[in-house]
């Protein structure tokens, strides 16, 4: 049931985001519902933010292989569609 929600991710924004909430439960490295309800002040100290980008900046381009070995270039979506990027791993 919860995984079936993930199938809707690319079809519906709301369903997709809901699916991400489920995904966050499925992957132990992601936050729990409880964590999502916490305010920033309630949260344990986070690691130093090492990102080199900020809101309003042009998104740094990348060209990465998909699971079929095909290159996916972020900038190819520019002017076409917004991109919802999720970084993570199985563990």
């Amino acid at each position: 049931m919860k995984l079936s929600l993930l199938q809707d991710l690319s079809r519906s924004m709301v369903a997709g985001i809901s699916a991400l909430v489920i995904l966050s439960l499925a992957l132990p490295c992601l936050a729990s519902r409880e964590n999502q309800r916490r305010t920033v002040a309630d949260q344990p100290p986070t690691k130093r933010d090492i990102s080199k980008v900020d809101v309003g900046d042009p998104a740094p381009d990348f060209s990465l292989k998909d699971l079929d070995g095909k290159e996916v270039k972020l900038s190819s979506f520019k002017g076409q569609k917004p991109v919802f990027l999720v970084f993570g791993s199985y563990t």
């Binding site: 132990p28 729990s32 999502q36 986070t46 980008v53 990465l64 979506f77």
Partner: protein, 127 residues
């Protein structure tokens, strides 16, 4: 709207001797959320640190199959270039506007990983 999962190095590889190993991560999840939620996540995968790009690809395939995801995955390179640029490790959400600019930058995970907040940002972008 394009959804992309950028698969980065394992957050809790099975061979990590430090505080980031899987057993300790599971214990933390249980402690933070209660055993019921931790158990709902199911058995946890054991994946060693990626030594090669093929290892990373196998791990991503395993993730996609294990969670029955149809979302497109891309693999960060072994230098973790994209993950480093975006500060994407261990997990993080960004929303990029149609114009190619950062519209939403989530806090680093695990505590800052907040799909609900990202959803609000996305709704605002699509108004």
């Amino acid at each position: 709207m394009v959804f992309l999962i950028v698969y980065v190095k394992e957050a809790h590889s099975s061979d990590n001797p430090g505080s980031g190993n899987l057993a300790q991560a599971v214990a933390k999840v249980e402690q933070a959320t209660g055993k019921e939620i931790a158990e709902a996540a199911g058995p946890q995968p054991e994946i060693a640190r990626h030594q090669t790009f093929e290892d990373r690809s196998k791990a991503a395939h395993s993730c996609k199959a294990g969670l029955d995801l149809e979302l497109p995955f891309v693999l960060d390179n072994m230098e973790n270039t994209t993950g480093s640029t975006y500060g994407g490790f261990p997990d993080r959400i960004y929303v990029i506007s149609n114009e190619g600019k950062i519209h939403y930058k989530g806090e680093p995970g695990p505590y800052g990983f907040n799909p609900v907040q990202a959803e609000e940002s996305l709704k605002e972008l699509l108004k």
